[in-house]
Symmetry: C2
Subunit: 248 residues, 2 copies
C-alpha cells in the first residue's frame, strides 16, 4: 500500500503553538480528516486538498474513514486538537487498526507530537506542573465513574498535581463537583485550584481559587482544571510547584 496516515495535533488553539513538523505534515496531505472546529484552525494550504469534517462524537468512524483513505493510496492527516496522543485521535486510530482490515497493520502510520492543553494551561498561570503530576479525563463516556474515583484517590494519596481534562459538559454537569468532594476528603482545603479556560488561545481566562472554595460549576468543556500538590503555592501573581519537596 502506498498511502500514509499521520496523526497530528493543532496545539491548544493559537497558530503559533502548532509545531512546524505538524504544519509540514498538513501541507503535504491529500486529505485532512478531523472534527470540524479543529480543521477550521488550519488555513487552506494546497489546491485539491480534501477536507473531511465530522462531528466530535464519532472518533472511531473518523479513524476508520482515514485508514480507508490511506489504504486507497491517499496521504491522509488526521487532525486533533492539542497533542494527538493525549485524550485525542491517536488512540482511536490504533483502536480502529486493531479491529479493522488486517492490511491496515502494514500502513505507514505516524504520530506527530503537539502541545497538549495541560501544558498551555500551566503556562498561563506559572508552573503548577513543576513537580510530579497526573492527567485524568473526567469523562465517563468510555470508562466507569468508579475507575475515575479510584484514580482521583490514588492521585490524591500520591500527592500528585492533578490536571483534569473534560471536567464538565452539558451531559455531565455534576462530576466535577463530585471529584472535588472526593479530593477534599484527602487533600488540604487550602490547596490551589486553577480553572483555565481556552488556554493557549487569545481568549484564555484564569480563575484561581482553593480546593475548599472550588465549585463544579466553574468549568465547562473548554476548561482545564489543575489541582495542586501539597507544595503548590502562589508567588506574586503566579502559581507554581517547587521542584524541591519540603525538607529535602
Amino acid at each position: 500500500m502506498s498511502g500514509s496516515l499521520v496523526v497530528v495535533g493543532t496545539g491548544p488553539g493559537k497558530a503559533e503553538l502548532m509545531t512546524p513538523a505538524t504544519q509540514a505534515a498538513i501541507a503535504k496531505a491529500t486529505d485532512l480528516v478531523g472534527y470540524g472546529p479543529y480543521l477550521d484552525r488550519i488555513p487552506a494550504m494546497k489546491a485539491g486538498q480534501c477536507r473531511h469534517a465530522s462531528d466530535n462524537r464519532v472518533e472511531l468512524d473518523r479513524a476508520r474513514h482515514a485508514l480507508s483513505l490511506a489504504a486507497a493510496g491517499r496521504d491522509v492527516v488526521v487532525v486533533s486538537g492539542g497533542d494527538p496522543g493525549v485524550f485525542a485521535m491517536a488512540a482511536a486510530v490504533f483502536e480502529a487498526v486493531e479491529v479493522g482490515d488486517p492490511a491496515w497493520r502494514t500502513l505507514d502510520i505516524r504520530v506527530e507530537p503537539g502541545v497538549t492543553a495541560m501544558l498551555a494551561a500551566a503556562a498561563e498561570v506559572g508552573a503548577p506542573l513543576g513537580g510530579d503530576f497526573c492527567a485524568i479525563s473526567l469523562s465517563d463516556n468510555l470508562k466507569s465513574w468508579s475507575t475515575i474515583e479510584r484514580r482521583l484517590k490514588a492521585a490524591a494519596h500520591g500527592d500528585f498535581v492533578i490536571a483534569l481534562y473534560n471536567p464538565a459538559s452539558k451531559a455531565r454537569p455534576r462530576q466535577l463537583a463530585e471529584a472535588f468532594v472526593l479530593l477534599r476528603s484527602v487533600k488540604d482545603a487550602a490547596t490551589p485550584v486553577l480553572f483555565v479556560r481556552a488556554a493557549g488561545t487569545s481568549e484564555a481566562k484564569v480563575v484561581s481559587t482553593t480546593l475548599g472554595m472550588a465549585d463544579g460549576s466553574m468549568a465547562d468543556m473548554r476548561t482545564l482544571v489543575i489541582i495542586g500538590a501539597s507544595t503548590t503555592r502562589q508567588v506574586g501573581r503566579w502559581i507554581y510547584t517547587p521542584r524541591r519537596e519540603r525538607g529535602a
Copy 2:
C-alpha cells in the same frame, strides 16, 4: 522595570518541534540564558544577542541571573529543553522570585509551552498515553526516595500509564531497577514497558519489552521510560492505550 523574562522550551530536540511562539520569543530577546546544549539547538538569530550558557546543575543560579538581567531592563529568554513547565526551568524561575528581590515580583514574566519529552516518546511508539497517565521524575536530588516510592505505588494502584523522567544517571544507576521491583509487586509482569531514547530527535531509538523483563540498565539520562496501564497493548508495530476500559 522595563525588562522582561520569557521561559521557553526548545521541545525534545528537532527544530521542527519548537513552536513558532517560542521561536518568536527567542528572536526578540536581547539575552538568552540556559544550559549550553539547549542554547546550541538555537541558530544565531540576531546580532548583539548575548548568550549566557551554564552547567546543568545550577538551575537556581541561572534563574537568578536571568531575573537580574530582566530587572536591569534586558529582554531575557530562559531556554529549557522540552516544555519549560515540566521538570525544567519555569519552576526554578518562580523559586528564585519567591526568595529573591521583592521587585522581581513586578517583572513581566511569561511562560511559553512546548512539546515535553513524554509526548515525543509516546508519538515514537504509537499512543501509549491514550488513557489517564502520570509523569514522575525519578531523580532524588530534590525529593526523597520515599516520596518517589509513594508516588510509584499510588500510580500503580490507580492503574495509570506511568512516564518516568530522569530514570537514570551515572550518579543514580540503581533507582530504575528499584522502581521496577516496586511496580512488579503491584502490576502484571506482561505490562508493556518502553524505553525511548532521544525521542523527537533524528537519533530516536525505541526498545519495547515487558515489566517482567525490564532491566534498570536499559535507560540512561536521555531515555524516557513509559510503563503501560492494564489495558495498554500492542497492535502491529505500535503500542497504545485504548480510550475505552475493558467492559465499559
